[in-house]
């Protein structure tokens, strides 16, 4: 065999660096900020920006594990229901005299359990696909929340609990700090660990991953469990922000979250995308909504804008690819 020498230095081409999806998001983000500053005098104000961040960050916690799920080429539409169920159980326990600290832990445990059940069902019944499994658990989890709380809303939590959603550390919102911590953790998990590498492998080619000794089922279960856990974290912040809870909270969160992840450049076909993209998308959509809210634009216009933005964002790379990609018909 003739010896060959391969480089092991990462080639750093400027073109490759700037051709990343995230730059497009950055541009969009800047565009949104510039637009907002022009539209409203109230936008460019530290306190306002800070408090706006607090009001859209609650669901962002679910975005983090959803990135993993979508990279796995799966989907979880039960997250909104998990938020409701874990929040309702926490509030109900507290209303029945359980100390808030304990109720809080139970909340996290319930979310985790729900996620675990999703993962287990998806792994055990591969025929079903995650859409169907989480579609039914979505109905079931919220159903349980209704059974538990019926028509009541439960609230009157201790004062310190309010701090989660409304408090500041110095002048930085607590929720932002919490999100930053989780985002960094999930970012590291996805990009710097063997676990993250395996998630990408499964999303790109589950068969080859299995043949390479990746425990596909286990990783899937862990990821879905994480989604459950983070839904419970969202439940904590959301409940704190609302000061009370009822079975219909967080309705429709799943679609918001999925839209953010997809906008962040994570392909639902699996195996592609980065955490930073999704995080950018969270802030992009958040500030877009906020800015348009500041000029009191109608809800329907906002719907159309966000829908078109989503379609636009996913079509652009497709069109580009068509122009430059190989011509041959793939069969």
């Amino acid at each position: 065999m003739e010896p060959r020498v391969l480089t092991s230095k990462k080639p750093l081409t400027l073109k490759g660096f700037f051709l990343q999806w995230e730059w497009m998001l950055v541009l969009l983000f800047i565009a949104v900020i510039v637009m907002n500053v022009n539209l409203s005098d109230y936008f460019w104000d530290y306190n306002n920006l800070r408090d706006a961040t607090m009001s859209f960050l609650d669901k962002a916690f679910i975005v983090l594990p959803m990135v993993f799920i979508i990279i796995l080429a799966d989907i979880d539409i039960s997250v909104g229901s998990i938020v409701a169920l874990s929040s309702v159980i926490m509030a109900d326990l507290y209303a029945h005299g359980v100390p808030m600290e304990l109720a809080l832990i139970v909340c996290l445990a319930v979310g985790t359990l729900c996620g675990y059940i999703n993962g287990l069902l998806i792994v055990k019944f591969k025929e079903l696909s995650s859409v169907i499994v989480t579609l039914s658990t979505m109905i079931i989890y919220r159903g349980i929340a209704y059974i538990l709380l019926k028509d009541q809303s439960v609230g009157k939590f201790p004062k310190w609990f309010n701090y989660l959603g409304w408090g500041y550390v110095g002048s930085i919102p607590f929720i932002l700090i919490a999100f930053a911590v989780f985002a960094v953790l999930f970012g590291i998990l996805l990009h710097k660990t063997t676990f993250g590498r395996k998630v990408y492998a499964i999303g790109s080619n589950p068969t080859a991953s299995r043949y390479s000794g990746v425990q596909v089922d286990r990783i899937k279960i862990i990821v879905f469990t994480l989604a459950g856990l983070m839904s419970a974290v969202t439940a904590l912040f959301l409940t704190s922000r609302m000061g009370s809870t009822r079975p219909n909270i967080a309705t429709g969160y799943e679609l918001d979250v999925i839209a953010m992840v997809v906008l962040g450049g994570i392909s639902t076909a699996g195996g592609k995308g980065r955490m930073i993209g999704a995080i950018l998308a969270v802030f992009l959509i958040g500030y877009l909504r906020y800015g348009l809210g500041l000029i009191n634009i109608s809800a329907q216009t906002l719907l159309i804008v966000i829908g078109l933005l989503l379609i636009f964002a996913v079509s652009v790379p497709k069109l580009k690819w068509k122009g430059t990609g190989a011509k041959g018909k793939a069969v």
Binding site: N48, K150, M242, G243, A250, G252, Y290, L302
Partner: protein, 336 residues
């Protein structure tokens, strides 16, 4: 840090609190209303009334409504309004308690917060504009139904969602009224929930009719429910057998009132509800009132209104519910 701390926890509406904020736009105040959700004509009318009142005062009205009727979306809108440093927020709440932290933040920032139509709890507002006394609504509905069926027979209630607070209060009052011995022969057989969805309300109505063949009347204290029930009764030709009443939009119910399926029904004028809310907010912003019991102010064409007690909070009452029947429906159906 931020403005919420400076304003202090008491914030509850002392006139001096508003001195702290910049009064831009050339002294023109901005007053906002948030309705439950967009695309609801009832809400559009309320916002219209609010706007009318505010503009009569020479101020600017901001109208907002989320696309889904959720408290989460309303919280975001409240944040947006706090950022815009509006002078007052009037809100028709999707949840009585869940807006508390957000509304308290608004009040701490010196914004006058009132609720209208669907109340928030007493801690989250300065005062509430009540379209009608829940007790009066509940009792009137029972009295009306009793009259329709001659004081005898089975009746059922078709409500909105099982967790709608105002509906539930009305139903409580209906039950109280029924305790009166003069209704001994009237039996409330079921409270069904149509979730304010057309299809669900229809199947619930059908289920009522089948499960209780002797049913004499349906009370639907919800605009979606009463219209759906009216449709079912019309389609099944049960006009003379089962009577319908409740709270409905004249435009939606005109058809059924004219045909006699629903001899009469009640509602307040949503324009007036919004209008009164507009004037209440103006009075608060101008410092004419502070929201305490016994204070009086003039609400434009509605005349003088007084703030009365409501549990541990206060409210302004619009008046008795208005009765719509075949005599007046023709003129009202064009209005809202």
């Amino acid at each position: 840090g931020g403005n919420n701390k400076e304003a202090g926890a008491s914030g509850g509406g002392s006139p001096s609190a508003s001195a702290g904020q910049p009064s831009d736009a050339g002294g023109k105040k901005r007053l906002a209303i948030i309705f439950k959700n967009t695309g609801n004509p009832y809400g559009e009318k309320q916002m219209e009334g609010f706007k009318k009142a505010v503009e009569e005062n020479g101020d600017e009205a901001i109208l907002k409504a989320p696309d889904q009727p959720t408290a989460e979306a309303q919280i975001q809108m409240i944040e947006e309004l706090i950022s815009q440093k509006v002078d007052a927020i009037a809100i028709a709440a999707n949840d009585p308690d869940a807006l508390q932290p957000a509304l308290q933040k608004a009040m701490n920032a010196g914004i006058k917060v009132i609720s209208l139509d669907s109340a928030v709890n007493a801690q989250s507002r300065i005062t509430h504009v009540n379209q009608a006394d829940p007790e009066r609504i509940g009792r009137t509905l029972i009295q009306g139904v009793s009259e329709m069926i001659g004081g005898e027979g089975e009746i059922a209630i078709l409500s909105a969602t099982s967790q709608a607070t105002n509906q539930n209060t009305w139903i409580e009052w209906m039950k109280k009224e029924l305790e009166d011995p003069k209704y001994a022969n009237i039996k409330l057989v079921k409270v069904a929930y149509g979730d304010d969805l057309r299809d669900k309300s229809v199947s619930e109505t059908e289920a009522l009719l089948k499960s209780y063949p002797n049913l004499k009347a349906i009370i639907a204290p919800t605009t979606v429910g009463i219209a759906a029930a009216g449709k079912v009764l019309t389609d099944k030709g049960l006009k003379d057998k089962v009577k319908l009443t409740g709270l409905g939009l004249p435009s939606e119910m005109a058809e059924y009132i004219e045909s006699g399926v629903c001899p009469w029904m009640y509602l307040w004028n949503p324009i007036d509800v919004g209008y009164l809310a507009g004037y209440t907010a103006e009075a608060l912003v101008k410092g004419e009132i502070t929201g305490a019991v016994g204070e009086k102010f003039t609400a434009g064409t509605l005349g003088e209104k007084e703030i009365v007690a409501d549990g541990d909070g206060t409210q302004v009452m619009l008046g008795d519910p208005f009765k719509f029947d075949s005599g007046n429906i023709a003129e009202w159906k064009e209005v809202y």
